[in-house]
């Protein structure tokens, strides 16, 4: 349900953003393309040229080095190492209490690491107090100063830097224009709507042109429509200003939409760091597979591994084949992870040579308008979900409950997970 429509929407804004900042595209063109499953194909539906993490010579702009943070007995961040590159839009994604906000607050200087150090542009910043760090943060609650006008809120950081008055006024006007709040200049925060407050908070946090902008659940308080619109505005802004953004979110759709790379965290550790497409198509564990989008996990044992093909013997569907280079032993427990939209469903038995055919009884149907999800119960009791786009309004013989349905997926569509 949560994955609905993300892939299709992502293409447009990136293209538009790239036009707005052609220098970025040009500068990053030298970087190697992302790793791909096969030489002729790329992972995911969006082509990106910005990928400094694939360049072994590139130095991370922000480096968390063996960071551990404990609050009493509770370990919020557990021996974590992570590098973020200049001009990257990086997301920390995870459930509540996974340590993502603590990591962000350590970079801002509000928490000190128990162990390890944080390097910003090669400099150890662990000892620098928050008010001297070249990073700014946008708070989840916006944290606007209620007794100051919008303009004074935006000017606050510039005043602390003792910037000349004329320059402050110019910069404030520029920021107001950027977030389209010119006519609200002299309002107090309580005289603004939620969306406007969010934009004031954003303008205030970028007014000082920080090296890094930290965003703590920046869109959490907005309604769905406004949130989707603001996600694209954030991307455009980041490209326009050429800043490094580090965002914390629990919303995987948001992370998928805005990020260059995502780190999925759980219990103070990073489970996987990769681009949204790799994260979605090649999750490294069941945790990530299940956390990002919707997925079918079919348990089985590996019966053969050879020539880029893995065969898994499952109770639900017999032998299933996946095209994957995998280091695994015969007899090892494994899970076939297949996204519902990559499973096709039909009432007729597929042609004899089709790979990965399963059959079962239609158990539940979720009709969402644009797509329908069919929950099919396998003979051994497992449920496999198939997603079908409702491409036409009229259907000759719709699938109904208790129908015997045939499912199949391509060996390229699934991944085998060992953990």
């Amino acid at each position: 349900m949560a994955t609905k429509g993300t892939a299709a929407k992502k293409a447009a804004p990136r293209k538009a953003a790239a036009k707005a900042a052609p220098q970025k595209t040009a500068a990053r063109a030298k970087a190697k393309p992302e790793i791909s499953a096969e030489k002729s194909k790329m992972v995911g539906s969006v082509r990106r040229s910005f990928a400094p993490w694939t360049d072994p010579d590139a130095k991370p702009f922000i480096l968390y080095e063996n960071i551990t943070k404990r609050f009493g007995d509770f370990t919020a961040v557990d021996d974590l190492t992570l590098g973020i590159y200049e001009r990257e839009f990086f997301s920390l994604l995870g459930g509540s209490g996974c340590g993502k906000t603590t990591l962000l607050r350590m970079l801002a200087g509000f928490e000190t690491p128990t162990e390890g150090r944080i390097l910003l542009d090669g400099q150890d910043i662990s000892k620098i107090p928050p008010y001297k760090r070249p990073v700014n943060m946008m708070f989840q609650s916006y944290a606007l100063f209620p007794h100051m006008t919008v303009a004074d809120n935006i000017a606050f950081g510039l005043k602390q830097d003792k910037m000349p008055k004329g320059e402050i006024a110019d910069r404030v006007d520029e920021m107001l224009k950027l977030v389209k709040l010119e006519q609200f200049k002299s309002r107090k925060p309580h005289m603004l709507s939620g969306g406007q407050r969010q934009r004031v908070a954003l303008a205030r946090s970028i007014a000082k042109r920080p090296k890094v902008l930290l965003l703590d659940e920046p869109l959490g308080a907005l309604d769905k429509k406004l949130r989707e619109q603001t996600q694209f505005e954030l991307i455009d802004l980041q490209q326009q200003l050429g800043l490094t953004f580090q965002i914390v979110t629990h919303d995987q759709e948001e992370a998928m939409t805005v990020s260059d790379r995502i780190a999925v965290m759980n219990q103070g550790k990073i489970i996987q760091v990769s681009t949204p497409a790799e994260m979605y198509e090649y999750p490294n564990s069941r945790f990530v597979a299940d956390f990002i989008g919707d997925i079918n996990l079919i348990e089985g044992t590996i019966s053969s591994v050879s020539g880029g093909k893995v065969t898994v013997e499952t109770a639900d569907a017999g032998k299933l084949v996946v095209n994957q280079d995998l280091k695994a032993d015969k007899g090892q427990t494994a899970w076939i992870a297949i996204r519902p939209e990559k499973v096709s469903i039909g009432l007729k038995k597929p042609a004899a040579r089709t790979a990965n055919v399963m059959s079962g009884e239609v158990w539940d149907i979720g009709y969402l308008g644009d797509v329908s999800t069919y929950h099919v119960k396998m003979p051994a009791g497992g449920i496999v979900k198939a997603l079908q786009t409702n491409a036409t309004r009229l259907v000759e013989r719709p699938i109904t409950w208790e129908d015997q349905a045939w499912l199949s997926f391509s060996p390229d569509g699934a991944v085998v997970l060992l953990s």
Partner: protein, 278 residues
Amino acid sequence: MNRGASWFNVTSVVLGFAFLYLPILILIIFSFNESRLVTVWAGFSTKWYVELFRNEGLMNAAWVTARVAFVSASIATVLGTLAAIALVRFGRFHGRTLFSGMVYAPLVMPEVITGLSLLLLFVAINFDRGFWTVVIAHITFSMCFVAVVVQSRLVTFDASVEEAAMDLGCPPAKTFFIITLPIILPAVISGWMLAFTLSLDDLVIASFTTGPGATTLPMKIYSQVRLGVTPEINAVCTILIALVTIGVVSASLVTKRQEVERKRAEAAAVRADEPELA
């Protein structure tokens, strides 16, 4: 739905208000009495007010009271605000429970005990009793009221506002004065006003801790009443009532106006947002 006023409701409201305000009303009326006898009405006159301003003893006492109240309220506000910040902000420091218990103890401590213990202290350290001992005594008991008022405001204060200020380059001490203090100022002011009123009002603790030349107005009134109520006392009390009434009414008017303005501004903000979403 308005059901109108039943006889029962009207009666209970009238009785209730009469119980609360009739004694005060009688006091005010008799302050304008011509006669020296407090209970016999002999025609309207303001002569007791004139007399009052000529009564040096009462005027001195009033002046002492005002000074004690001002100084003690101001110091109590500073100390009480600091205590409130320590209690709210520093989380679970060592001895927090003891500290918070000790801050609140004077709230429930019988005044006689507070007064007596302070008296014993001043005697023990051989501190000359007078204006400053009353001030110190008033600070000790009104400080905790300030702490309670300010603390309740700080609990709802979003600490990330301070973090945002620091994040934007403002050092912690400056943040307190230009961000935190302006935001919690209404609570600090009402804490000050509470401390001021408590000090004006206090009889017991002041009687224990005062010395020669530092007689407060409540003490003066009390000692005069023991010799019989005079219309002068009625006049003093009427002035006090007038001051308190003006204070309370203007404070509530200001709050009400702010509320109305806030609501109007919020409505305007929502209206301004609508075309954007369309």
